[in-house]
């Protein structure tokens, strides 16, 4: 993965910038010691590492504005960082950039139950937003797998989803307002606690812009009343095609489960060996979860079971209590850990029309043989968001490159069948160079034009999302106003 060469004129001003930053931030909020900077050299896409020139940990929106103003004046790029859990390299620095971490800004500013919104600082972790409102019977819906660790800032940057977004939507559907600091230090208030922000839908374009338009320091999020109960059902099939057809029939029948998760045989075996969840040994496994009061759950599950039986499932297991429900989810939730135990892996995130599931799974299997790399599939089947996990060995020379080539082929396949490169992880650096497969020049130009407006000097997370050859002219622009 190519990154722009660090510019000597930026590196030369490291001490000057650190000193200027220390005039505005507390001493421990400006990090310049090489050993400490190592903590910021990568995110969860750990195959790529590069310590930044400096890292700063501001505590207020005003401090964020100061940091950006200073970096803007010196023409130094800034890479915003939430909790560093990006799987796409969204928070990977370059050697001539400053990491701006929002981790110290993690307060709940207001919880308004009458209007069902919560205002938080964006360094707060996803799960702890729900934690702050659960006593009143509410929760924050988007639930990425990393929710224990990931920050709302990163959720907004990547428009994160999760297992339950089939029903509740992704971040953008649950975000009502933000405080955004632009690269020149301007602080913008967009939207609020009302349901539709006025004017153009700037919130819509900021959410998912991967930290390239501004740094979001506060957010107003919708919270929802917790359902009375939820229960999963496990369905086992002897082919991916049949499992895929069952998913389609459940959706067509007008039932709207909160989640439909899909695992293929390699994934089932790995999870079983790791977590001993008691999964049947089969080709494809579905976990379907529904919500509501007890009687509602019963009725929905019985209808889903009726549809499933038409597809001759090998097994149909309904959780009878919380313990059984926990066991059904146990394997799925430990999928990533289970795969990590076998080898290094790369997690993809392409999304396809659900009707293409069987074909795409078959092709992924064929490609696996061509490349000689194992793959396991676990994904959100209701919305076609695939997560193939490709196994490789980081210590074997050439294996990473082979894995990347395989991954690229899978993602191109997703695009070919009418899908996209990434459903919820973001482009970052990981899918950056594949963007030409998704978009034509005019499509890319229209997106980059948005960044031109928010960040004319292209200093915010500049080497991400757009292929370097597409953004070259913009990034090469002379350094901002001195």
């Amino acid at each position: 993965m190519e990154m722009p060469t660090p510019r000597p004129e930026r590196l030369a001003r490291k001490d000057e910038l650190a000193e200027a930053l220390r005039r505005h931030l507390s001493a421990d909020a400006v990090i310049d010691a090489p050993a400490e900077l190592r903590a910021y050299e990568c995110d969860a896409l750990a195959a790529y590492r590069c310590p930044p020139m400096l890292a700063v940990l501001p505590s207020t929106t005003e401090e964020v504005a100061q940091v950006l103003r200073l970096c803007h004046a010196m023409g130094v790029p800034v890479v915003p960082r939430g909790a560093g859990t990006s799987l796409a390299g969204g928070a990977l620095p370059t050697a001539d950039s400053v990491i701006l971490g929002v981790a110290r800004m993690n307060a709940v500013l207001e919880a308004d139950y009458d209007n069902r919104v919560v205002r938080v600082q964006t360094g707060r972790t996803n799960l702890s937003v729900s934690g702050a409102v659960e006593e009143e019977g509410f929760f924050y819906a988007p639930d990425p797998s990393s929710q224990l660790a990931c920050a709302i800032a990163g959720n907004i940057a990547m428009n994160s989803g999760g297992a339950h977004c089939l029903k509740y939507g992704v971040t953008t559907n649950n975000l009502l307002g933000v405080t955004l600091v632009m690269m020149d230090g301007t602080i913008c208030e967009i939207g609020g606690a009302h349901l539709d922000a006025g004017g153009l839908d700037l919130l819509g374009v900021i959410c998912g812009s991967e930290g390239q338009l501004g740094v979001v320091t506060e957010a107003t999020l919708r919270i929802l009343p917790k359902p009375e109960g939820a229960r999963p059902m496990l369905l086992a099939f002897d082919s991916n095609e049949v499992a895929g057809a069952c998913v389609s029939d459940i959706i067509k029948a007008g039932l709207l489960p909160v989640a439909i998760e899909f695992m293929d045989r390699p994934c089932i075996r790995a999870c079983e060996a790791f977590a001993h969840a008691g999964y049947p040994d089969c080709e494809a496994l579905l976990i379907v979860e529904v919500e509501g009061a007890e009687a509602e759950i019963e009725e929905q599950l019985s209808r889903i079971a009726e549809i499933a039986r038409r597809h001759d499932p090998l097994e149909l297991r309904e959780a009878r209590d919380a313990d059984e429900a926990g066991r059904i989810w146990l394997g799925r939730k430990s999928a990533f850990g289970a795969m990590g135990q076998i080898n290094d892996y790369m997690c993809l995130d392409g999304t396809i029309p659900v009707t293409e599931l069987p074909y795409v799974l078959k092709r992924i299997g064929e490609l696996s043989e061509d490349y000689g790399l194992g793959v396991a599939n676990v994904f959100h089947a209701g919305d076609g968001n695939m997560h193939p996990l490709i196994l490789y060995n980081a210590n074997t020379p050439g294996d990473l490159e082979k894995c990347e080539a395989y991954g690229a082929d899978i993602l191109k396949l997703c695009v070919e069948v009418g899908g996209c490169l990434t459903g919820e992880h973001g482009v970052g650096i990981e899918k950056r160079d594949l963007m030409w497969h998704q978009y034509a020049a005019a499509d890319m130009e229209a997106q980059m034009a948005v960044k031109d407006v928010f960040d004319p000097a292209w200093l915010l997370n500049p080497a991400k999302v757009f292929p370097l050859d597409a953004s070259e002219g913009r990034r090469a622009a002379p350094v901002a106003a001195e």
Binding site: G254, L255, E299, D383, G418
Partner: protein, 378 residues
């Protein structure tokens, strides 16, 4: 001018020598009046893909909304964001198009639970003001590949580009509907009831309050949808929970409940009546206070009280409404008024400085000559 293909539309825009008024079905004359040559999109019509099992549809922007709704109904599905029909309110004729719905982000009562039009949009194709054909998003449910221009286009009222194709998510029609009704509540009590209902675990899909119902008395309405037994259970549970606020009755007749929510979504109470109509968006808690500050206004509350349709004497109250909204946070749109009034008063809430600058910057990028519905949004 009327384009039959996307390429033709692009040529027309490239060749335009002055401002263009973009027109789908011509049913939503909202905004500052635009002087310019009419550019019609009705030729870009037709459903090109509909996969009920994937809950997705792709259609030309000029496709009549009625055609889309009929195709969905045949499969037991619908546009869950419940776009309203504004012809009666605005006194317009013609047939609404899906492109017009998207351009105006038209979202009805179910917005509070299912989401707005913008939340259902999966992809767009459009021609910008320089004649460039652009696509963004696609036809899959989850997509974070690059910036979300789909949402930027949705609700931009044709000022950034002319939509040629949209793809969107659809949802199954609910098996049953139950509506809780209560007469006689004042605004504050009504919003309290709506907030309590929306804060319950019973998935309210409509929460509205009319200051004057059909017989002149205030009516508060709460809708629940889903499987029949589940709706029965939840309406009863909710009725009990609201008993200390008011005595709610239950209506389950499909025609009557559908008509009741059309009454709200299409703003029927203000149809055929003189006066200006404002659309106000604030938090539900702030709603009654804002309404109380406007002399002689009549209000229809939707979205749990956060969306307020206000009928006020013609040509009056603009300053009071804008001030009342500014004081609590939110925005107000002068939705229906004479052309003269709409030229004089900003129709959309003027944006504060950094946002106004960003919006102007985006318009300059997408429409460098300033020819697409210029000035419509202010």
């Amino acid at each position: 001018m009327r384009a039959e293909t996307e390429a033709e539309l692009a040529e027309m825009i490239v060749g335009a020598e002055g401002p263009l008024r973009i027109r789908g079905g011509g049913t939503r004359d909202v905004g500052r009046p635009v002087d310019g040559a009419v550019l019609e999109t009705g030729g870009l019509s037709g459903i090109s893909l509909y996969e009920p099992g994937a809950l997705t549809m792709v259609a030309g922007a000029g496709t009549p909304l009625a055609e889309i709704e009929a195709a969905l109904a045949a499969e037991g599905q619908r546009l869950a964001f419940e776009p309203g029909d504004w012809r009666g309110l605005l006194g317009s004729e013609g047939a609404s198009t899906i492109g017009g719905v998207v351009a105006a982000n038209v979202s009805g009562p179910r917005r509070i639970q299912a989401g707005a039009c913008r939340d259902f949009m999966l992809g767009v194709r459009f021609v910008d003001g320089a004649g460039r054909i652009v696509k963004n998003g696609g036809r899959v449910m989850k997509n974070v590949t690059g910036y979300d221009l789909v949402k930027l286009m949705c609700g931009s009222w044709g000022t950034l580009g002319v939509l040629t194709e949209v793809s969107f998510k659809v949802l199954p029609v609910s098996e049953a509907t139950g509506v809780l009704l209560c007469e006689g509540l004042d605004d504050v009590a009504a919003v309290k009831a709506l907030s309590r209902a929306l804060g319950s675990p019973w998935e309210v899909t409509g929460a509205a309050h009319l200051q004057k119902g059909l017989d002149g008395a205030p009516v508060t309405m709460i809708r629940l949808e889903g499987l029949e037994a589940s709706v029965a259970y939840r309406t009863e549970a909710l009725r009990e929970r609201l008993a200390d606020i008011g005595d709610f009755t239950v209506e389950t007749d499909p025609d009557r409940t559908a008509a009741g929510w059309r009454y709200i979504g299409d703003v029927e109470p203000f149809q055929g009546r003189s006066g200006d109509v404002w659309r106000v968006s604030v938090t539900p808690s702030d709603g009654p206070g804002v309404v109380a500050r406007i002399d002689g206004a009549e209000a229809v509350y939707d979205w749990g009280g956060g969306l307020i349709w206000l009928l006020v004497p013609e040509g009056q109250r603009a300053a009071e409404i804008r001030q009342a909204v500014a004081d609590v946070g939110g925005h107000a749109t002068l939705f229906r008024a004479s052309e003269a009034m709409r030229r004089q008063v900003p129709v959309f809430q003027p944006q504060p400085e950094p946002l106004a600058r960003i919006e102007a910057g985006l318009r300059a990028k997408y429409d460098p000559r300033g020819i697409l519905n210029p000035g419509l949004m202010g």
